[in-house]
Amino acid sequence: MNIFAFITNVLSIGIPFSVSLLLASTGEMFNQRAGIFNLGCEGIMSMGAFLAFMAPHTLQGTALEPWANMLGILAAMLMGGLMGMLFALATVTFRAPQGIAGIGLHMLGWGVAGTLFRFFVGGVTGIPGLKPVFLGMNALAYLAFLLVPASWYILFKTPWGLKVRAVGTYPRAADTMGVNVARTRYQALIAGGVLAGLAGAYLSLGQAKMFADDIVAGRGFIAVALVYFGRWNPFLILGGSLLFSIAQSLQLAIQVQGIAFPYEFAVMLPYVLVILVLAFAGGSTVRGPAELGKPYNREKRV
């Protein structure tokens, strides 16, 4: 076996695998930087994947066909934004416990996407999918990687990023400085939802080129874990996404090559890796959002 070919193989599968994770976890990073962790990321991705699939599926043979993929992606982002807003309504306005609300959002997105899919489509159908534009990857993949330095800049160098970090770390201080805590958290959750919707769209349009109930397969939850793993920093999150997806493609390659290694363990590898890294990455949150998970109530006495 040629070792060079093996590595190329692992990378060429692994890097496209990382795109949806990267988009979703970048979105989740904005949520968490603003102090809200959205466990419903998985559900938003399901809806995004479904809507992005539905557009080319229903528009096949119509005049809009050339725009179908684009419309699908836009629909996925719009739905992501709306679901982000719904989550903000629950956790910011009504101060619902974020973990429970997130699980609810996950169930909602996952269930609705699956039900509508069975109602409108039924069985497994392929779709045309996005065309590769460069080095065998499509435009969404490049967008995802460009988003890494862009979100770093937004977070650390723009007024909005400053507000997001302030409301996630010390909302009362931000409030006394005239920052609208609720509005900033809404904005961050909507932005995160849009990115999660896009991540879902990439899964159905760019990666699988089809839709199935469990197409997201836990990536939304992995994305949440990757944000902790990456200490709320876009570049470290990129590293985490690559590490995870390359571990995943490595286990595929191990199986394909027929290397004598129990495949059950190979399949476990990426997940074990995340748990291990999270276990050792613990500790200081000096630079992270200290108020993560806590609703803010101005009139509550401290």
Partner: protein
Amino acid sequence: MKQEQIRELRTIGITKRFPGILACDSIDIDVGEHEILAIVGENGAGKTTLMNMLMGLYQPDEGKILINGRETRFRTPVDAYAAGIGMVHQHFMLVPSMTVAENVLLGMRTYQKFLRLDMAGVKRRIEEISSRYGLPVQPDAYIWQLSVGEQQRVELVKTLCLGARFLILDEPTSALTPQETDELIALLKRMSSDMSIIFISHKLAEVTALSDRVAILRQGRVVYRGSTSEKSIAQLAALMTGHEVNLPRNEGLDSCEEPVLAIDELRVRSDRGFWALDGFSLTTCKGEIVGLAGVAGNGQRELADALSGLRHVDAGSIRFLGREIANLSPRQIIEAGLGYVPEDRTTEGIVPAFSVQDNLVLKDVRAARFSRGPFLKLDAIKRNAEDLRERYDIRCASLAVPAGSLSGGNIQKVILAREIARKPAALVAVYPTRGLDLGAVEFIHARLLELKSQGTSVLLISEELDELLDLSDRIAVIYKGRILDILPAHQATRQKLGLLMAGIREVA
């Protein structure tokens, strides 16, 4: 920014209710131009609530705020800033993970360009303000790197950068060393030529040193308004508490007969991994109160943790009645007879959701007095609690209410009652009166002196110099994890202790 000068700020009949409490009850105050008004009151008197209404953080239920005679409503802090009112909060409103400049920028719309932060502009503004008022700050430092005194300067600079010409300071000296306090008071006096100031405090010496007029709040009402110079400190204290206050003093000065707690060359790491205690040695004797003075963050927390078994000791020894207790488990240390009044009373001192009576037996549930096998003797627990409530004047609606619902002073009484009832050979008390009002302080001081007279050795960790001077037989000063010096109480003065706390050892 074009703003009208604030010549007079007045509140009329301001009232604010929180569920179950009337925090402010029809409060009238007024502040004139270049005037310093002190607002004085015990905890829960409504001082901070009143100020939060002036800043637009809370909305008053009744009453109005007048500026230069015109009624004004502040819906958010932005409105208050726009009118020129700025507040330095007791808990600093600074985001620790951001730099000084970023914190200032957060509130300054003019420097927030589209997709860009005007860092250079905001730094120039900070320089301008800090040189005008003599408040040195480093714009690029992260807040978490700064000492409490430095953070306070940043708060002041921030508030002034935002254009405040009417300053509200909420207990600004509570975390400062005596020197820093003196500097702040001098600074505020200078600044009053430029602006009006409301100064909130319960430290009456500062109030008389600084303010022109004083308003005293008690249980949400103004009980006295007038010129500061008309009243003595004792009169102000009596007005504030509603009764005469006599803080007890340590009169006996015993020589050391037998050591109880002997700490030798202790080395302990902080949470961030550096040596928080670096060769710390101190001995306390039977029937002696040893005060440990120092600016918070010099190793006090780690010392308390190490003594109570909550933190690993890397080197050195702690001998308690001749027995080594370093690195024993908290339970072993409790059973050895060391009492502990922790710094954070609601998270370490009690289980807030448990009833008062359960909290009173937390350390003794396994004792035969309170349990038989796996079963609790509920009658005995209740009788014990009734007895302690009587003796320690614990004010609670019933012994079955959650301990967390009591006031700070009563929670501290629960902890003290539990610890003293166990008849400890030594008691470690960490900031036992922090944040408590004078009545509770008086009670706790009396109990500590009573313990001393019964032969208990007390290690009192505190940052209140008056408390240390009143109670201690000897006062040790901790600086950067070591004892800098130990003074007999009768030789210690505020000045000497202040210098030592700042790390300056006097050249003899």
